[in-house]
């Protein structure tokens, strides 16, 4: 049962252009969303998050957009840099008010930044 879906297993983007990674979710109880980044042989690293009360959160080159009605979120990276090549995991938490500990991850999208 995939509650968090990343339908693109991989994405290639030219350096300097915008990378857009997409994520869909099915559980309407999710109220907090995250993106993690993972390099080979390393653990995932937290990148950015967004609460369901917002529709956008920006941190430097990274912006996350949330469309609750469509149950869709996206991560925009602009401009894309070679060091952004990694696997990006979309993740979600249900009932963050009561600090539910279970983070549900998607399968990940491998982003390859082309020189």
């Amino acid at each position: 049962d995939q509650q968090v879906k990343q339908n693109s297993p991989s994405l290639s983007v030219q350096e300097g252009r915008i990378s857009i990674l997409n994520c869909d979710y099915t559980n309407s109880m999710f109220d907090y969303f995250l993106w993690y980044k993972k390099y080979p042989a390393e653990g995932p690293t937290f990148l950015i998050s967004i609460s369901s009360i917002k529709d956008k959160n920006e941190d430097g080159r990274f912006t996350v957009f949330l469309n609750k009605s469509a149950k869709h979120l996206s991560l925009h990276i602009v401009p894309s840099q070679p060091g952004d090549s990694a696997v990006y995991f979309c993740a979600a938490i249900a009932d963050s008010v009561n600090r539910d500990d279970k983070i549900i991850f998607g399968k990940g999208t491998r982003l390859h930044i082309l020189p």
């Binding site: 690293t45 937290f46 998050s49 993740a91 963050s96 600090r99 500990d101 991850f105």
Partner: protein, 114 residues
């Protein structure tokens, strides 16, 4: 920069054997987690631990699994009798709880069950 460390990096074991995976979380963190990732699959939640007890566990975390924080610095995951399907990368993570959902992950321990 403080980091979560995990040992061993890779363990090969026979089916039915007991395995203990060890983690040293970041020292001032209060929340501890184990996740796993079967090759090519998503990262899956196993268990969370706070205040010296399990706060939540998934359906994967059955009676074969246990966690312990024996000495205030280590956080261990024990698999009592390993099965082939336990082969995965096991990630330990910790959090200070200030930014919800921001977990600091270790590099993982790869478990191969033969």
């Amino acid at each position: 920069e403080p980091e979560v460390t995990q040992t061993p990096s890779h363990q090969v074991t026979q089916m039915g054997q007991e395995v203990i995976l060890r983690c040293v979380p970041i020292s001032n963190h209060l929340y501890f987690y184990w996740y796993r990732q079967i090759l090519g699959q998503k990262v899956e939640f196993l268990v969370s631990f706070y205040n010296n007890e399990i706060s939540e566990k998934s359906e994967i975390f059955d009676d074969q699994f246990s966690v312990e924080r024996p000495d205030g610095s280590n956080f261990t995951l024990k698999i009592r009798s390993t099965k082939l399907e336990d082969s995965a990368m096991y990630f330990c993570a910790s959090s200070d709880g200030t930014t919800w959902g921001e977990l600091f992950f270790g590099e993982g321990s790869r478990l191969t069950v033969l």
